[in-house]
């Protein structure tokens, strides 16, 4: 084998390794940690603006949490943008609330959180499509 062919073989092995590493990272995308940074009060956030967004899925779990030490209300919902409807179970509580939805099959929902502190705050959301 020539030197360049050997080098190509090594590169091919490295490429396969990289793909192998990528596959498990993507398959764990059934969960979504989406941060909403400095979001206005009383507004739903899916992380698309000022945060992270992992796309639509059949979320059957969603939680909202307050990362600050100052208590305030947080809310969560699982929302279907194409219809403007949401799954039954929108909920609100102080600092941390989560909802276990039933069997969700449509891969068409956004997981959203909001905060009701009265001013801009960070809120963390976590959604799971296979809770």
């Amino acid at each position: 084998m020539s030197y360049s062919r050997a080098r190509l073989a090594v590169l091919a092995v490295l490429a396969v390794g990289a793909v192998a590493m990528l596959i498990p990272a993507q398959s764990s995308a059934f969960t979504s940690w989406y941060n909403c940074i400095n979001k206005p009060s009383d507004t739903w956030c899916d992380g698309r603006a000022n945060g992270t967004y992992d796309g639509q899925h059949s979320w059957d779990y969603n939680s909202a949490s307050n990362p600050s030490g100052t208590p305030f209300w947080v809310c969560q919902r699982v929302y279907k943008p194409s219809t403007g409807n949401w799954l039954v179970g929108n909920s609100c509580g102080v600092d941390y609330i989560f909802h276990v939805y039933g069997n969700v099959t449509c891969v068409c929902y956004d997981a959203e959180v909001s905060q009701l502190s009265g001013s801009g705050r960070d809120i963390y959301g976590f959604a799971d499509a296979d809770y």
């Binding site: 490429a15 990528l22 940690w33 009383d42 909920s91 102080v94 609330i97 009701l116």
Partner: protein, 211 residues
């Protein structure tokens, strides 16, 4: 293009793939920020919880168990170390039932909604001191359920739904639960506990504005 150039481009592509892969593999930097994650599940109800909530003094019966499906879900995640095998039914209802579930340093209020549930887990210290806040959840009818857990000394809570409209809600099994009709303005929940009188604002989750 020469072979060395081709190899160089390949090397750059592979390096980029490896970088992406490592970022993907170590993604979710916020996982550690989940307040209930990674807490060891309790195997028995903590003494502080038993002291604050008499509902846990009661022998656990079959009626105290969550549905097998829901218990399995909550058990697998065990947020705040909650253990659904130690649950107590506080308020049974035809459509929604409210359970108290002990966790580690927290007590969880689990209100069934359909086959799922709305869950909040205030710190045990807040519950014991009579400072635990209510939670709200929208039901299939559009009505809103208001629920929470309280210590032994609290016998009722007052739900304010307008400037002068107030409803007394009795506490059962260290918990309270009431449903208000869709569109009812929500104001506060008040009760008197070991720390004196407390008042919490309450919100309709259906009225949060679209972003």
């Amino acid at each position: 293009m020469t072979n060395s150039k081709k190899n160089y481009i390949l090397l750059v592509v592979v390096a980029a793939c490896l970088l992406l892969a490592s970022v993907g593999a170590t993604a979710d930097p916020d996982e550690s920020n989940s307040p209930g994650a990674g807490v060891q599940q309790v195997t028995e109800t903590e003494a502080e919880v038993r002291a604050a909530m008499a509902v846990f003094d009661r022998q656990r019966g079959s009626g105290d168990a969550l549905s097998e499906w829901l218990a399995g879900k909550l058990d697998a995640a065990a947020e705040f170390g909650m253990n659904p095998a130690l649950s107590r039914l506080s308020i049974g209802n035809a459509t929604n039932s409210l359970y108290a579930v002990p966790a580690r340093g927290h007590v969880c209020a689990v209100l069934t909604v359909g086959e799922g549930a709305s869950v909040s887990c205030p710190p045990t210290g807040d519950v014991a001191a009579g400072r635990s806040a209510p939670s709200t959840v929208a039901l299939a009818t559009g009505d809103v359920a208001i629920y929470g857990i309280v210590p032994n000394a609290v016998e009722s809570v007052s739900v304010q739904t307008g400037p002068s409209e107030s409803t007394k809600v009795d506490v059962e099994g260290n918990a309270y639960y009431t449903v208000v009709s869709a569109g009812t303005p929500l104001k506060t929940v008040r009760y008197a506990g070991p720390s004196g009188s407390v008042e919490f604002p309450i919100y309709d989750p259906q009225l949060v504005r679209d972003g």
